[in-house]
């Protein structure tokens, strides 16, 4: 049996080989010769194969195999065939008994393997990208002889093969869509991020950005991603544009040191960025090293990886672009301030970046501050510093020479610090220019050493505002102290102030007295007849005869007479004034306007003095022992009475006026001048710098002006006061006349009673006196009495008029005193009216006369 089987097998194998060889389409067309060598070869080969594998590798389960075949058919998309196959298999399997196939599983397995081999052989011949292989032209022609087209029934519906053409176009379309590979796009994006146009990604002016041309076919997701990455390119372009623009403007000296520093800092940041881009470009060529060999690796850099890498540079570049936008029109300190505002950020990355940038940007500014504070030098070609100087005369150097420019003040330097900086530099310049002092250089080095930095460049940086503050403070302290020392010791500021007080504010009493005595008669002349030269000589005399001669000659040198500009009708009294010449550097304190105010006060005080002087003069003539009652015994009783009453009234009025003037004088001298002076002295002690001194002096002067009723708000009071003064002077002249008349009368009466030996003497005396034609010489006693009576009556009336006017004016003046809001005059009021004599009197008078009027108390 075995032999039979074997024989059968070999016969069958022979048969099989024959069939297979004849089937082969590549063999030559003539029928295969079973005895040919080829055949024998093949036969042997077949046998070898068949004997090699004796046992199958899978389980002999026909149903399972059938299932798997069905499944494979279904996945291949041939579901109807799968159903048919199932049907056939069930029929096939149902056939049992003789004549049927016993190893059904073998048959099925055989079919399966053959089919699989056939399929894999076929797919290897096809192009991998073609999706619809069954419709490719090459295939169509070769299998025409079979009825079946590779298992697909071809039913030709369109004779013109329109479907085929459509499908072919679709295939081409798909091919094109995948044309632009990701690596090319990555490379283009990298170019775009350096500002260069790539193959597909170009800069579009209208859209203002890097865009992927619409003609290029990429999936929408890729397009969006490319656009996001190209934002970095846009930002880069903006920053680079600013830098190159600024560098173009450098020679035009338009940009300024701060701007230059800013560009340099940006360029450094960009060089970091370039490094990153270079690394990325190198990486973009390398494939990823993968563990498994089966999958073909792509390039390392995909668009997604690029977006991860670009996250940090994008933040930085965005910052730089924002700063560039902000700083396009700014310069100097304003630019530094604007950048500083952006540095107030919580993100540590941003914070660190801004700090680096600001350090570089602010270094020129800090340099300028340092050189200003330690040397007083203003090296500012581009007008970037917040201290600006202008050329002025030496005397206004302190006040107007330098000022702060608020626009250029960066926001990290506070207002008070800026003031201190300004003052320190100003002091150094002041010392150098006005005081001709060289000692400040040492103080600068000391200050720097104390603050821990050096006087060389580059000592300070941004972020060290405290260090800057301490340096400025140290420098300010020392320089201010030095300046004050110079002012006080070298230029004797205090002494000059005292001298001004003694001479201009009439502090030196004896000198003023002498001066008034000497200059008085001169000044009664009209103003245009007085010569300044003569007055200067009189001033010298006055100085020499008083205690003022022991004063410092330098001070006395500066005291002069000044005649103010006058119109016609002015008397000397109105235009006379003294002047004190304060030279550099003290004229910073005693400027023109300050001296004008001193002048005003002097005028007022001088007028007051004159009134006082006048009253004292009147007193001299009113001395009672000049008029002895015995000389009037000859007169009639009525005349005597009249005389006495007139005299009395005169005296009463005099006392009234004297009381007023004395107390006013006292008030001015002590309450106003001395008090202000002591305040000023104490403030001078504590003043730390020249600004403080100026302020103290200003306050001193202001208080004097206000309290002596010369201020603007006391105009009415002042006017009434001056009217009072005029009245008092009129009284003086009246009193003079009265007493003159009485003396004449006395002389007359004495003459008539004198023994004859004196008559000649007295007549000679009288002869001197009586120059007027209306004299009484030679008249009788009766005429004398009549004359005297008339004279006295006139005088009495005048005095009455004066007294009434005086009373009303004084009342008006006193009533206004308590209602003054801006200056405290209660001391003056108290002095003038401490017994409330006047107020009660006025009250009484008004109540009596039932006058409604001025409201007081």
């Amino acid at each position: 049996m075995e032999e039979e089987d074997h024989q059968k097998v070999s016969d069958l194998i022979k048969e099989l080989v024959l069939r297979l060889l004849s089937q082969n389409p590549t063999s030559d067309p003539q029928p295969t010769d079973p005895n040919s060598a080829d055949f024998a070869n093949s036969h042997r080969y077949a046998f070898r194969i068949l004997s090699s594998r004796m046992t199958p590798s899978i389980a002999p389960d026909a149903a399972a195999i059938a299932e798997s075949i069905k499944r494979r058919l279904a996945t291949q998309g041939k579901s109807s065939e799968a159903l048919t196959f199932a049907d056939l298999y069930s029929k096939f399997a149902s056939k049992t008994g003789p004549g049927s196939v016993n190893n059904k599983w073998a048959v099925l397995y055989l079919l399966k393997i053959i089919a699989h081999d056939k399929n894999s052989a076929r797919t290897q011949l096809l192009d991998s990208s073609v999706l619809l292989p069954n419709l490719s032209d090459s295939r169509v022609s070769s299998r025409k002889q079979k009825g079946w087209e590779n298992g697909v029934l071809l039913v030709s519906k369109d004779p013109e093969n329109r479907r085929e053409i459509a499908f072919r176009e679709f295939v081409n379309f798909v091919k094109e869509e995948n044309e632009v590979r990701e690596e090319v796009l990555v490379r283009d994006v990298l170019y775009a991020c350096q500002g260069i146009d790539g193959k597909y990604v170009k800069f579009d002016k209208t859209a203002d950005g890097y865009v992927l041309s619409d003609l290029v076919k990429v999936p929408r997701a890729t397009r969006i991603m490319v656009r996001k990455l190209c934002e970095l390119g846009w930002l880069f372009r903006k920053v680079k544009g600013y830098i190159s623009e600024s560098m173009d403007r450098f020679p035009a000296e338009d940009v300024g040191t701060v701007g230059q520093a800013f560009c340099a800092a940006l360029q450094d940041e960009l060089s970091d960025y370039y490094k990153l881009l270079a690394v990325l470009e190198a990486q973009s060529m390398n494939p990823i090293p993968l563990v498994s060999e089966k999958v073909s690796s792509e390039n390392y850099l995909s668009l997604r990886r690029l977006s991860v890498w670009f996250a940090e540079p994008m933040v930085k570049m965005r910052l730089m672009a924002v700063l560039v936008d902000k700083c396009k029109v700014l310069r100097g300190g304003a630019m530094a301030g604007a950048i500083h505002l952006h540095a107030q950020h919580g993100d540590p990355l941003v914070h660190e970046f801004m700090r680096r940038l600001l350090r570089r940007v602010c270094s020129p500014l800090f340099e300028m501050v340092r050189s200003w504070v330690l040397e007083g030098e203003l090296e500012d070609i581009f007008a970037e510093f917040f201290v600006v100087g202008q050329p002025v005369k030496a005397e206004s150097l302190w006040r107007d020479g330098y000022r702060l420019h608020a626009g250029m003040l960066p926001s990290f330097i506070s207002q008070s610090l800026a003031q201190r900086i300004l003052r320190t530099g100003k002091s150094i310049n002041f010392l150098r220019v006005c005081c001709e002092d060289r000692g400040w250089a040492d103080t600068a080095t000391e200050a720097a050493a104390a603050a821990g930095t050096t006087t060389r460049r580059g000592g300070l940086g941004y972020g060290e505002t405290d260090a800057l503050e301490s340096l400025v403070d140290e420098a300010a302290k020392r320089i201010d102290k030095h300046l004050l020392d110079v002012i006080h010791i070298q230029y004797k500021f205090k002494e000059h102030c005292l001298a001004i007080k003694r001479y201009l504010l009439l502090g030196q009493g004896d000198f003023v007295q002498y001066l008034m005595d000497i200059v008085g008669p001169e000044l009664s002349e009209p103003a245009n007849t007085i010569s300044t030269f003569k007055l200067a000589g009189l001033l010298e005399t006055a100085i020499r005869s008083s205690n003022a001669q022991y004063d410092d000659p330098d001070i006395l040198d500066r005291l002069r007479v000044k005649m103010m500009p006058h119109g016609t009708g002015d008397r000397g009294w109105d235009v006379f004034s003294l002047e004190y010449d304060a030279r550099v550097p003290l004229d910073t304190v005693f400027t023109e306007s300050v001296m004008a105010r001193y002048l005003k006060i002097f005028n007022f005080l001088w007028k007051l003095r004159r009134v006082e002087h006048g009253l004292i003069g009147a007193w001299k003539t009113m001395k009672p022992n000049c008029i002895t009652s015995h000389s009037f015994t000859k007169l009639q009783q009525a005349v005597k009475l009249q005389l006495l009453s007139t005299l009395r009234r005169c005296q009463v009025l005099w006392v009234d006026m004297n009381h007023f003037v004395t107390n006013l004088q006292y008030y001015i001298m002590f309450e106003v001048l001395e008090v202000s002076w002591s305040n000023f002295l104490s403030e001078m002690e504590v003043a730390k710098d020249l600004d403080d001194l100026l302020a103290a002096h200003e306050k001193y002067l202001h208080s004097i002006v206000e309290k002596s009723l010369l201020g603007e708000r006391s105009q009415t009071l002042c006017k009434s006061l001056f009217v009072l003064f005029d009245l008092i002077l009129r009284f003086r002249s009246h009193a003079d006349r009265l007493y003159e008349g009485i003396h004449e009368l006395q002389a007359r009466t004495m003459e008539s009673s004198l023994p004859s030996r004196d008559k000649s003497k007295s007549r000679r005396q009288l002869g001197d006196k009586s120059s007027d034609p209306g004299s009484w010489i030679g008249e009788g006693r009766k005429a004398l009495t009549q004359r005297a009576g008339e004279f006295l009556r006139n005088m009495g009336l005048d005095l009455d008029a004066i007294a009434k006017e005086y009373t009303s004016l004084l009342e008006g003046f006193i009533s206004q005193l308590p209602v003054q809001q801006h200056v405290d005059l209660k001391f003056l009021l108290f002095r003038l009216d401490f017994t409330e004599f006047y107020t009660r009197m006025y009250q009484f008078v008004y109540n009596f006369l039932n006058l409604d009027g001025v409201a007081f108390f």
Partner: protein, 73 residues
């Protein structure tokens, strides 16, 4: 063989042929019948499939004429 068996065999062959067509194996009836017979005789179907795959492409150029060897062992 009796006609019933022959009929059955024919039908089986027909079914197998249709199945093979569905699977697109490219075998014709005669070859298929030989293969089925061989399978029935117990030969390994994998090796048979290998033969079917390899043999049409296995053409040797001029080989020395060799004696046909008998498979009798």
């Amino acid at each position: 063989m009796d006609p019933e068996a022959a009929q059955k065999a024919r039908e089986s062959l027909e079914l197998a042929f249709q199945m093979s067509n569905i699977l697109d194996t490219g075998l014709d009836r005669h070859t298929l019948s030989v293969l089925i017979a061989l399978c029935d005789l117990g030969l390994n179907p994998e090796s048979l499939a290998a033969v079917v795959k390899e043999l049409p492409t296995h053409t040797h150029p001029t080989q020395p004429q060799q004696q046909r060897r008998s498979t009798d062992s």
